[in-house]
């Protein structure tokens, strides 16, 4: 069962990574406009030039 001492920290670490990623994406405003994001993905060719950089 010694493998647990590696697997549990790995599982927790991955979970925390996910949590951190979510909190980061929330902070950077990615959840502010969910409808818009869906449409932007479709029309990526005619986005304004500053977004293409």
């Amino acid at each position: 069962m010694n493998v647990l001492f590696i697997l549990i920290p790995v599982a927790l670490g991955l979970g925390l990574l996910g949590l951190a990623a979510f909190l980061w994406s929330m902070k950077s405003g990615q959840f502010d406009d969910l409808d818009g994001a869906a449409w932007r993905a479709i029309s990526d060719d005619d986005l304004p030039s500053e977004d293409k950089k």
Binding site: I8, G15, D32, W39, D51
Partner: protein
């Protein structure tokens, strides 16, 4: 509307580094194409550093280098692209709500993370308990669970703990009290188990409960924010601005929030007043229908008091802004409004009512279990365990979601059919209503004037008058605008008098009786009845009076019939004159009508009705309706209503028709049925679960299954409300 002549500086905020920022509410954005068109179009304007359209709330954020362009240029550019943009008052954007939503979202994320990881450990323990887990490994897993659960509960549980504490300190019980108690007891008991090396720890149940409830609350919050954003956009579209006269005599358009008592504002002809004040200079007639319900115009001159929401009809004014003064109509309205709102805050929402029954029952059951096990000869520790197990398994996950889940679905449906809810529990009160009380002016009647008898006027005349009307800002001209498409070339308006144009040497005039030089005899003959008159004159021909009135909304009669079909009583309470009210009520087939009412009279009628046990739905728009809207069991306002009334009402409906009132009732009744089903289901669930817990058969596995199972069922039942979307009366707007 030309924005180029407006100074929009008050709407601009500096964001640093020589960059300025403005928020605009944009009309007419429907698809991704619009979004790309606007952003790309603005991107090509030199000086603009950022243009981003938020598709969810239809707001455009634009930033540019200070001094390179004026904010009006941005609005102008958007207009060239084919959209109408309205500046957004930075003071009106709700910051506190966004922060609250973020807090909920973070709490939900933390609870979700914790629930997943604890479940990972718990499932191993459950599997191990059935096979060959060593007590040491189990203890290790319990300790790990505790290490994750304790900080997670402390963080994610705060919204519930705070609300429960607040309720308890007010000597009340709300749904958060049993939730808090359940979570804390579950965690506390599991900690004791962990310390003593016991078999049963309930960390997973506690954290999962929080996670489910937070998801429900987050969705609720999101729906409400969406509704609020729409309402804020509407406020911006209505242009709640004022033209302020600066000390040096120049003028500037500012948001209403930037106007202080003592300021002077200019009010042009045809403009709606956005402030209360006293006229300094200028003479005019005022349309007070939105304030008092009266449809006849009142003459006003220097020294007279004017109110926000009234329409300036005939002459430009300078108004000195006043603070709320004593002994005026507004003061009376405010006093009544306060009293009504205090009375309302004591009303119990359905969920809290359920909690009031539920909490004592469950807590008694737990106490009896404890005593029962003691009497049966068990030690106090196992007895305590059984008692706490009762509290954990009955922990109101299903009950906590029963009402909010339906509210979220119902308010989403209402949103799509053009009804914006101010308060979440309005749904259940809409369902209760058994009587609908309408205000007349602006509610049953359309807020825009219409022709009394379009057939009596030759079509050609009507078309010409319509073309002239297109060049007029006068409110009554709106009635004629529908009959023409292109304005008359070279038409000029003389404010407060009328419009004139020359075509082939013939002069056409549209305006007041004097402007069209109608003789006193003609005027005397035409001015009968309740309507207003617009005069039309072609060359030297005799002037022709065109009667204009605020006609009934086109579906008013149909709506009243539908309400009656649904078994609702209908009544009209109006501040207007008896003849005007009678005419409208007769046409609509409403027998119950009262006219000439003051705000206090309206409340008295409503109180009388509620003493008779009627649950009244009040529909009104005027300032004089605000107290009645607040004191009625439930209330709704059209979007054209004055600000105060919209704030006092439970909901606001969009569009030209009255049908959303019927839709609101239909959806709410369906939602109310789902709420009742959910509450009964939660009761049934507890009826089954409690005996299991009382006799000590509950294990963490059973608790987790029961809890998530019941939550899912309740949520699915709530989603069933959506199925009725296809059967609604009103077409989608």
């Amino acid at each position: 509307m030309g924005f180029h002549d407006r100074d929009l500086k008050s709407f601009v905020t500096a964001v640093g580094d020589g960059i300025e920022h403005i928020d605009l509410a944009v009309e007419g954005v429907r698809c991704a194409g619009c979004m790309a068109k606007i952003e790309k179009g603005l991107g090509t304007v030199p000086g603009i550093t950022r243009a981003r359209l938020n598709f969810t709330n239809r707001r455009l954020a634009v930033e540019w280098k200070t001094g390179e362009l004026a904010p009006a240029d941005v609005v102008e550019k958007v207009a060239q692209l084919g959209y109408r943009a309205h500046p957004f008052d930075p003071g009106a954007v709700a910051g506190a709500e966004a922060a609250e939503a973020r807090r909920l979202m973070k709490a939900m994320a933390v609870a979700g993370f914790a629930a997943m990881n604890i479940m990972l450990l718990s499932v191993s323990v459950w599997a191990g308990n059935a096979s060959d887990i060593t007590p040491e490994t189990r203890d290790l897993f319990h300790w790990l669970s505790a290490l994750i659960a304790i900080p997670a509960v402390a963080y994610s549980g705060r919204p519930f703990f705070e609300s429960a504490f607040h309720a308890l300190s007010n000597r009340a019980v709300n749904m958060d009290v049993p939730i808090t108690l359940g979570v804390l007891l579950a965690v506390g008991m599991s900690l004791v188990e962990t310390f003593t090396g016991g078999r049963h720890a309930y960390f997973d149940a506690a954290v999962m409960l929080l996670f489910f409830l937070l998801v429900g609350r987050f969705l609720d919050m999101n729906m409400r924010r969406r509704t609020r954003a729409q309402a804020e956009n509407l406020a911006a579209l209505k242009g709640e601005t004022a033209t302020k006269v600066l000390p040096d005599g120049s003028t500037r358009v500012v948001p209403v929030s930037a106007i202080d008592p003592g300021d002077r504002v200019l009010v042009a002809v045809g403009e709606r007043l956005s402030v209360d004040g006293i006229i300094e200079t200028g003479k005019t007639e005022i349309d007070q229908s939105l304030v008092t319900g009266e449809t006849t115009y009142a003459a006003a001159g220097p020294g007279d008091r004017v109110y926000a929401g009234t329409l300036n009809m005939t002459g430009a004014l300078t108004v000195q802004v006043t603070a709320a003064a004593k002994g005026t109509l507004l003061d009376e309205v405010n006093t009544l409004l306060e009293a009504a709102q205090t009375a309302r805050s004591t009303r119990l929402a359905l969920a809290d009512k359920a909690a009031g029954y539920y909490a004592p029952l469950v807590h008694t059951a737990a106490a009896l279990t404890f005593v029962g096990w003691l009497v049966a000869g068990a030690g106090w520790q196992p007895a305590m365990m059984a008692a706490i197990a009762v509290l954990i398994i009955t922990c109101p996950c299903a009950l906590g979601l029963a009402v909010p889940a339906v509210q979220v679905v119902a308010s989403g449906l209402l949103f799509r059919s053009g009804v914006l809810l101010n308060s979440g529990d309005a749904v259940e009160r809409f369902a209760d209503a058994d009587m609908v009380v309408f205000d007349k002016t602006g509610t049953l009647t359309s807020p825009e004037p219409t022709l009394v008898d379009p057939d009596a006027i030759p079509a050609e005349t009507l078309a010409t008058a319509g073309r002239l009307a297109l060049s007029s800002k006068h409110p009554l001209a709106a009635a004629l605008k529908a009959y023409a498409t292109a304005p008359m070339p070279g038409a000029t308006e003389e404010p407060g008098q009328g419009v004139r144009a020359q075509i082939d040497g013939v002069e056409y005039r549209l305006g007041s009786a004097a402007f069209c030089s109608a003789s006193p005899d003609q005027v005397g003959e035409a001015e009968r009845g309740t309507h207003s008159l617009v005069w039309f004159r072609k060359g030297d021909a005799a002037p022709l009076p065109i009667a204009v009135e605020q006609g009934l909304r086109r579906d008013a009669r149909e709506v009243i019939e539908k309400l009656k079909e649904r078994g609702l009583g209908v009544m009209i309470l109006s501040g207007d004159r008896v003849e005007a009210v009678d005419a409208a009520a007769d046409e609509l087939g409403v027998a119950d009508r009262r006219a000439g009412l003051k705000p206090a009279d309206k409340i008295a009628v409503l109180e009388d009705l509620s003493r008779q046990g009627r649950k009244v739905l009040m529909v009104g728009d005027g300032l004089n309706d605000a107290p009645a809207l607040a004191s009625a069991h439930v209330s709704i306002s059209p979007v054209t209503a004055v600000h105060l009334s919209q704030a006092a009402a439970d909901a606001v409906f969009l569009g030209e028709t009255l049908m959303p009132v019927v839709t609101a009732i239909d959806i709410s009744r369906r939602a109310r049925r789902a709420m009742d089903q959910n509450l009964w289901f939660a009761a049934l669930y507890n009826l089954c679960a409690v005996p299991v817990a009382v006799f000590g058969f509950v294990t963490p596995l059973i608790a987790a299954l029961a809890m998530s199972g019941s939550s899912v069922i309740v949520t699915l039942n709530a989603l069933r409300v959506r199925l009725m979307a296809g059967k609604l009366e009103a077409p989608r707007q």
